[in-house]
């Protein structure tokens, strides 16, 4: 690994001023489960590592019935998984966070790190997109908010400018009869990067869907918000037919590649399969709420 200096600020102000002065040479460190691998492969070579785990603002999990969830960017997957409120109110995001890697990885990785790594195949972005999550970004100049589906701009690159860090996610409180769900396809039963990942969140009024959002992973240079597929469900019952139609619409915006994890044809096919399965499951969960 190339040499670097290690900083572990204990306050957000300290961290921001560090990032402000180091700019592009610094990288935030949470779990390190992507960053250290990239540094060994020399695909990312920061000269300053800023360990943000000790910053209180990045470690909050707080829910308010009105304003919804505030989830710190550095909260680990295991803390999310063990949080009863998260399991109850955001089962899809929770299962996405809990699918990242092995138990060893889950104890360290974070939703913030997962998103900021900018991989098109990351597990949490489709779930974040489905929930309409907003990403709060801070720098010495102030804060701004970016929608989850706009955060990653190309493989490995996000909207973060030099000096900026992701602080937290804000996710609306789920309405009654709402639920989210995330599923992915992997070749083995654990440990793999998603070949295709789909997240969905739906709200029901009786049998009618009043809102739906579908997020797609690993089928484009960035995670996608399947707007047409999502809109197609509003005002309709979430039956097999409508779900299948939405799945077809989702397939249409997928532009996957062929690589060592899957082919174009297979990935397009799986967008259809997983969208159907995820919507069906989300609907079932929503009915119970």
């Amino acid at each position: 690994m190339q040499a670097f200096t290690y900083e572990a600020p204990r306050s957000l102000d300290q961290a921001l001023s560090l990032f402000g002065s180091t700019g592009d040479n610094a990288r935030a460190l949470v779990g390190g489960t992507d960053l250290l691998i990239q540094m060994r492969a020399a695909t990312r070579q920061p000269t300053v590592i800023v360990d943000v785990k000790s910053i209180p603002e990045l470690q909050i999990i707080s829910f308010d019935p009105q304003s919804g969830l505030r989830l710190g960017a550095a909260v680990s997957s295991v803390r999310i998984y063990e949080d009863k409120m998260m399991q109850d109110k955001y089962p899809g995001l929770t299962e996405a966070a809990w699918l990242i890697g092995s138990v060893q990885i889950k104890h360290r990785c974070s939703v913030g790190g997962n998103l900021c790594n900018g991989s098109p195949a990351a597990d949490t972005p489709p779930a974040l997109i489905a929930l309409g999550a907003e990403c709060v970004i801070a720098s010495t100049k102030g804060t701004r908010t970016v929608k989850a589906e706009d955060f990653v701009v190309s493989p490995g690159r996000t909207v973060l400018q030099p000096g900026e860090i992701l602080v937290e996610f804000r996710i609306p409180a789920p309405k009654p009869h709402s639920a989210d769900c995330y599923q992915r396809f992997i070749p083995r039963n654990e440990m793999d990067i998603a070949v295709v990942g789909v997240g969905a969140a739906v709200t029901l009024n009786g049998d009618t869907c009043t809102s739906a959002r579908i997020g797609l992973g690993a089928v484009a240079p960035t995670p996608l918000f399947a707007k047409a597929a999502s809109d197609s469900l509003v005002g309709k019952p979430l039956n097999e037919q409508n779900i299948a139609a939405a799945a077809t619409l989702a397939q249409q915006i997928a532009v996957p590649i062929t690589d060592m994890r899957g082919t174009v044809d297979y990935r397009k096919h799986m967008v259809g399969v997983l969208t159907r399965r995820v919507l069906t499951e989300a609907a079932a969960r929503a009915k119970k709420k």
Binding site: A3, G31, G32, I49, V103, R108
Partner: protein, 160 residues
């Protein structure tokens, strides 16, 4: 710029302090700086678990933790599983009885991960054992005897 960092931590119940370059991982610290070669390097990408250590009660891949990140934390490795010089931990004993190791290179990682699993979940099902150990690769055993050893150790630890 690449000056060494001074770190204090607790390792297997003892206070330790050491110097390390920031780019030295916890795995390198354990093996090369502190001399505890139980944790092994198998992949350096967090995919094999041979480097597993417990950090504040949670099993992690030491190859993905930087040396400086160990500051102030409690670390447990395979060398700390047996509590005294004469008696093995039930997990270690059951691994031997069940022949749950062949070449043995993955064994420290499995023991660390299995102990962390049982400390949190004393009565796991077979599926929960397999899930909890899915981050540890073994190429010799096909996992059958490892899973049996862990389930048997759990029973012993529960007094069943």
């Amino acid at each position: 710029m690449s000056g060494k960092v001074h770190v204090e931590a607790t390792l297997n119940g003892e206070q330790v302090e050491f110097l390390c370059e920031p780019r030295q991982s916890a795995l390198e610290v354990l093996r090369d700086v502190l001399g505890f070669t139980g944790a092994k390097e198998g992949c350096l990408t967090g995919d094999c678990g041979a480097c597993s250590m417990v950090m504040d009660g949670r099993v992690v891949c030491s190859c993905l933790v930087l040396g400086p990140e160990m500051q102030g934390h409690t670390i447990e490795t395979v060398e700390g599983i047996a509590k005294d010089g004469e008696k093995l931990h039930p997990l270690q004993q059951k691994f031997l009885e069940h022949a749950a190791l062949q070449c043995g290179i993955c064994t420290p990682g499995f023991l660390v991960a299995a102990k962390a699993l049982l400390d949190k979940n004393p009565k796991p099902t077979e599926h929960e054992v397999r899930f909890g150990l899915a981050g540890n690769l073994c190429r010799c055993t096909g996992y059958d005897k490892i899973v049996r050893a862990v389930m048997d150790a759990a029973a012993v630890m529960q007094g069943r």
